[in-house]
């Protein structure tokens, strides 16, 4: 071994010169730090207003902070008291249950399936029909949330459009927002959010190569078989991404329910955001409300984590 190669060959041994396989040359520490300077404004904002509230939430949930009185200016550390109170509060499991029902029925079933159905049907429909559907469905989604909430409130209210429609076929009027508060806000959330799923699925279906579905037709696969065995597996990634996104969005729906029923009557549409709001700002129990917020942040964090696993952004980053 007298003729040692000047440089280690990449194929033979570990690349001793290259610290990171992706970068060209090793970057000196000083320059790497200087290059990161433009990140500073974003990092400061995110630390202060995103990480800050999360940490504040965890800390605040161990105090007896309140909206007014002595505990407002000098909150005291109370340990796990808020969480113990939460577990013995019958309204808490009620709020969790309503949140789960609201999530599953309005987002996972309602928005997701209606969005997929509309995307599949519009793919074959005449252009004029397609644009009518797109305009109405997307307008409901583009409207500011408070306006969408009023439109839904009016629709379901006792002298609203729904009762006018049912009266025209001879049915008695129903106080929808009092008799069926959860069903009303679920329908409202489907009305408001379906456009998002529809657009995600339209984009996904556009990417399915027509040769593949044509091949399935030639093999004798009918409409339903083609949908279940060819189309759905091909847009699998869009389905999981969409499910995660609409779940996260629906988890934080507040304004729609707040305007339509404000969580009532009798807590019957009080999902976790409404419950946290009522405890913290209605009853002034900031510490207790913060404990509920911390539980919600934890649920959001779990979904967000799953969502990142599904998306795997490392492939593009």
């Amino acid at each position: 071994m007298t003729t040692t190669p000047a440089r280690p060959l990449r194929e033979d041994g570990p690349p001793t010169v290259r610290p990171a396989p992706s970068s060209g040359r090793p970057v000196p520490r000083g320059r790497a730090a200087r290059r990161a300077i433009p990140l500073a404004p974003a990092v400061v904002l995110l630390l202060l207003f995103m990480l800050g509230p999360v940490l504040w939430s965890i800390w605040g949930s161990f105090t007896n902070a309140s909206l007014s009185g002595r505990a407002a200016s000098e909150p005291r550390f109370v340990g796990l008291d808020n969480y113990v109170a939460l577990l013995s509060d019958p309204d808490f499991p009620n709020a969790v249950w309503l949140t789960v029902v609201f999530l599953i029925v309005s987002a996972v079933i309602g928005q997701n399936f209606l969005g997929l159905g509309l995307a599949l049907l519009t793919a074959t429909a005449p252009k004029i029909v397609r644009s009518i559907v797109a305009t109405t469905v997307v307008t409901a989604w583009v409207l500011p949330e408070i306006v969408a909430a009023f439109a839904c409130y009016a629709f379901f209210s006792s002298d609203g459009t729904l009762n006018t429609l049912t009266a025209s076929v001879g049915l008695e009027p129903v106080e929808w927002l009092f008799a069926y508060p959860l069903a009303s806000v679920i329908l409202a959330n489907i009305w408001r959010g379906t456009a998002f799923s529809m657009m995600i699925y339209e984009a996904a279906l556009n990417d399915v190569a027509p040769e593949i579905t044509e091949a399935a037709v030639i093999d004798g696969a009918g409409g339903w078989k083609r949908l279940i065995f060819v189309t759905i597996p091909m847009i699998r990634n869009s389905i999981s991404t969409n499910l995660m996104l609409i779940t996260l969005q629906t988890l934080s729906v507040f304004t729609l329910i707040f305007v339509m029923t404000s969580g009532g009557p009798n807590q019957r549409s009080s999902t976790l955001p409404l419950f946290a709001y009522a405890e913290a700002f209605g009853l002034g129990k900031i510490g207790y409300g913060t404990a509920i917020a911390t539980v919600m942040l934890l649920i959001g964090a779990v979904f967000s984590f799953l969502y990142i696993r599904v998306l795997k952004p490392g492939d593009t980053a």
């Binding site: 290059r35 939430s57 500011p144 946290a276």
Partner: protein, 280 residues
């Protein structure tokens, strides 16, 4: 189209599909149609009905400085402030993420993506008590900064993707001419990605304009509140007696975001309609 054997069955199923679609569209239209018809009807109720006489009286009634114009101006200040801060911070952050391979890139982008998933609604209680402690309650700049932070994760992702599509070779020419990285960003990269930045700006603006919960909790003085909150207060005071005016006010407040949305999808954005489509 290429399979002509099944064509009679195809036309039938296409007809059924169209009928189903139009029925769904009609259901979706009902609440929207109420909004428009009620705004033109001085005797509007909560139910969809043809006005006996079309009139713009509801609009003239609410189009007063105190009722509509001032809150809309507040909305504009808050949303534009939030969007400017967001786009500036996102462009600066996207540059090193897009141009250099650094160890912090991946964890940073993962962290940011994780942030997009956190429910902002859940943060409102802790943010309220944090703002009380910092003495920033009722401060418009602080609220704009908070809203900017909540839209930053999505904005950084979108901006980085737009920036990745600007070829590095153009910048290298500027570097050779002696320009610093920041100068190259300002004079070469930003002008080239102007349409992309417009899309990010408009999406952040639309989100901020439509946000009700954040200003509702953090802004207390009525003269600072944006239209989202004053629409709500109007509803609390006169809602059930003046549906027509409520609808007119709501439409005036919704119009800017509808125009901006059409602008993005039809004009500059094209396929980006869903790229940043996350509601707050």
């Amino acid at each position: 189209m290429s399979i002509s054997v099944a064509s009679p069955r195809r036309t039938v199923s296409r007809g059924v599909a169209s009928a189903v679609l139009l029925a769904v569209a009609a259901l979706f239209l009902l609440p929207l149609a109420w909004l428009v018809l009620a705004s033109l009807d001085t005797g509007a109720s909560a139910s969809l009905a043809m006005p006996e006489q079309f009139s713009l009286a509801n609009f003239t009634a609410v189009l007063t400085p105190g009722q509509t114009l001032w809150p809309l101006w507040n909305s504009f200040l808050l949303s534009a402030g939030c969007a400017v801060i967001t786009v500036l911070a996102a462009v600066l952050a996207a540059y090193p993420l897009s141009r250099y391979q650094a160890r912090y890139n991946k964890p940073f982008l993962y962290g940011v993506l994780f942030g997009t998933g956190l429910p902002i609604t859940a943060m409102m209680v802790p943010v309220y008590s944090m703002f009380v402690r910092l003495g920033q309650l009722d401060s418009v700049p602080a609220v704009a900064l908070f809203m900017a932070a909540t839209s930053l994760p999505m904005a950084i992702w979108m901006t980085k993707n737009f920036m990745d599509s600007v070829p590095v070779s153009l910048e290298e020419a500027a570097w050779i001419d002696g320009a610093s990285a920041m100068k190259a960003l300002r004079t070469v990269v930003v002008p080239l990605m102007r349409p992309g930045l417009a899309v990010v700006f408009i999406f952040v603006f639309i989100q901020a304009w439509g946000n009700f919960f954040i200003p509702f909790i953090l802004l207390l003085s009525s003269h600072k509140q944006p239209a989202a909150v004053t629409v709500f207060n109007f509803f609390g005071q006169y809602g059930s007696v003046a549906y027509g005016q409520l609808a007119a006010f709501s439409l005036l407040y919704s119009l800017p975001v509808i125009v901006l949305y059409v602008l993005v999808t039809k004009g500059i954005g094209g396929s980006f309609a869903t790229a940043g489509a996350i509601k707050g």
